[in-house]
């Protein structure tokens, strides 16, 4: 009940004309970046971050999170109308969404996608409302060893549970952690890895890296392919919306299952991509006629969209409660919090109640307003795709440069952004994942500080990470997750060995 009272307080903080206007601006900008090829949630939030530098933290984070909701909604438009997934998590939506559009049911598919996005996000926001304060009050008891163990768990689960080649995830993560250490050492004040360069004294700002890795590299990749589009135009009428909503109770199992999958994979760093595919596959598996999937079935839109949005939203839970982002975009939002001098983690709930509950309230309001906005403006946003890419690409490059420069007012950062753009392009093409790199770059200094403080406290004894039940459990779990593929294989092999013996 305490959470409910605090949430009402959050709405009171939020309900000012200025904040509501910023929310609308954020949502429109978000849908815009979601629809545009070569942009998406993480890039949009990173590029538009400088717009918020002069705002108070609550207004700024509300606008940024609304850009995020808007981008999530916008991605579905291109998937359904043009068979072009704006984000990797929209791929599963194209399986049934595009066939529906081909059958003249584009409006129905879009309504289903937006509504299920809303439901997935709503379930995740409810989870954040009631779970995040509990986790954060529990985490207040954490010391440096517990925090390092949680960071280790996050890193290890990326390596162990990720779909990419393990050594490539390790490369991405260790490179991110190393680059986070460039500049002045926060404990001793000594310079590290600067090689005499005055520009590197500031360190490598992770937002500059993100703008290059995601924004510039995406432009290079998009340009590489054919940029011709053939798609369906769609306008959504109130009759179609009401008819889809009337049928919603029929699909409650699919919606609930996908929400649970999404929330689970969002809190653990499984990600929205895995969630959307898992949601789709399970809906197909439990269907009475699985062969109808892929031919324009509405459940094939409900399942992946609900799971992806539940995952994308619940990734903010560990960011708020523990200061550990569950996704790339959550990592960028966390960077935003740091820019305004806020320290994400358990203390945020104690020291900045207005901010946290204002943000959580904005998640509810942003989703409701976002749903109404996308349902009423689809034709306008779909027509953005008529703008030639040759006009859009240089504008995105300029926006990226503005974003990179504004963070530290340094020309060097524009060059750094370009360098990261090339790195991102090559990494994406050879399968080195970028999400672990971003996460490591954000968490690097915090993880190192927690490690050093733990080691100083224990006099260099590694046993500190097993010194009590809590830290020992988290560290052991981290190691189990790191070696999960090996453990999994061993179990499968053992099962095979035992089966003939039993027979």
């Amino acid at each position: 009940m305490e959470a409910f009272g605090l949430l009402l307080h959050g709405f009171a903080v939020l309900l000012t004309w200025k904040t509501l206007l910023l929310m609308m601006v954020g949502l429109v900008l978000g849908i815009f970046v979601g629809v545009l090829p070569g942009l998406g949630g993480p890039n949009g939030v990173a590029i538009l971050l400088p717009l918020t530098f002069t705002m108070d933290p609550t207004s700024a984070i509300v606008m940024l999170s609304c850009i995020y909701w808007g981008a999530l909604f916008g991605g579905a438009i291109t998937s359904i109308l043009f068979n072009i997934p704006g984000e990797a998590w929209s791929v599963a939506t194209t399986f049934d969404g595009y066939p529906m559009a081909q059958q003249g049911r584009a409006a129905e598919a879009l309504t289903a996608a937006f509504t299920s996005s809303f439901i997935g996000s709503l379930v995740a926001v409810l989870l954040i409302t009631f779970l995040a304060p509990m986790i954060s009050s529990f985490a207040l008891k954490f010391g440096p060893p517990e925090f390092f163990a949680v960071y280790l768990l996050t890193f290890c689960s990326f390596v162990g549970l990720g779909r990419e080649a393990k050594h490539k995830t390790v490369i991405s993560m260790s490179l991110g952690l190393l680059l986070a250490g460039v500049g002045m050492d926060t404990v001793s004040g000594q310079l590290r890895m600067t090689f005499g360069s005055a520009e590197l004294l500031r360190g490598i700002n992770f937002l500059v890296a993100v703008i290059g890795l995601f924004g510039i590299s995406e432009i290079l990749l998009t340009m590489e392919e054919r940029l011709a589009l053939r798609g369906h135009a769609a306008g959504i009428s109130l009759r179609v919306v009401l008819s889809v909503w009337k049928d919603l109770p029929k699909y409650w199992v699919t919606l609930l299952r996908s929400s649970v999958i999404g929330c689970w994979l969002g809190i653990t760093p499984g990600g929205a991509i895995a969630a959307s595919f898992m949601g789709y596959n399970l809906a197909k598996r439990f269907a009475k006629d699985p062969e109808s999937f892929g031919k324009g079935r509405i459940e094939g839109v409900f399942a992946p969209e609900t799971a992806a949005h539940a995952s994308g939203t619940s990734a903010l839970l560990p960011m708020l409660a523990l200061g550990i982002p569950g996704s790339g975009t959550a990592a960028i939002l966390l960077g935003g919090l740091m820019v305004w001098g806020l320290n994400p983690g358990p203390l945020l709930f104690v020291e900045h109640k207005d901010f946290v509950w204002g943000l959580i309230a904005s998640m509810y309001l942003g989703n409701v307003v976002g749903l109404v906005l996308v349902l009423t403006t689809v034709p306008i946003f779909a027509s953005i795709l008529r703008v030639p890419f040759a006009a859009v690409a240089p504008m995105i490059v300029v926006s990226c440069a503005i974003g990179a420069y504004a963070i530290q007012n340094a020309m060097f950062d524009i060059w750094l952004m370009l360098g990261f753009g090339v790195v991102g392009y090559v990494f994406k093409k050879i399968g080195i994942p970028l999400a672990p790199f971003t996460l490591a770059l954000v968490l690097g200094n915090r993880a190192e500080d927690a490690f050093r403080l733990s080691m100083i406290g224990s006099g260099g004894d590694m046993k500190v990470f097993w010194s009590n039940g809590l830290v020992g459990t988290i560290t052991t779990l981290a190691i189990v997750l790191l070696f999960w593929p090996v453990i999994d294989k061993a179990f499968v092999g053992l099962g095979r060995l035992l089966r003939p013996a039993r027979a």
Binding site: T54, H167, L175, D185, V187, V398, A401, I402, I414, R452
Partner: protein, 180 residues
Amino acid sequence: MSNTDIEIVVDDPTAPEENSPAVVSTGVVDVVVSLLLLVLALVLGWDNWRTGASWDSTGPQPGYFPFYLSVILGGASLYGLGAAFLSRREAAETFVTRAQLRRVMAVFVPTLLFCLATQYLGLYVASFLLIATFMRLVGKIALWKSLLTAFVFTAAMFVTFDVAFDVIMPKGPLEAALGR
């Protein structure tokens, strides 16, 4: 017109041809990247060793944590090098075709020149030049449309960042002549 009719069509006059020859295979790029990462790991490892990668009276020295990360990066890069040599599938895959590379360069080179121009002419003039030139030369869009779009976008950025949100961008001789 029914909903099934195709209503939005955007053609791409500069699309890469399908049968363009490969410039380099994924396997070769994998090997080169692994080698570069290995060199980076060695350089960073050496620098951290020099800074101090052991213990002193106050605890771990500044280079301790990054030194071991350099070791992990070096180890993973070595593994990647071996895997790239052994993988036949990656060796056969095309990293980029000649036509694709031409298109990537059509974005990369103007972006590089834009960064250079920003340093000397300021961000807004460089932005105007990039957008107008790119639209005209790469997109083959009418000159007046290219100039107008570039002007409107640059002006909108100036008003948004410099005037409304007080985010100061790099300026050049034009802004100085106009007293900004």
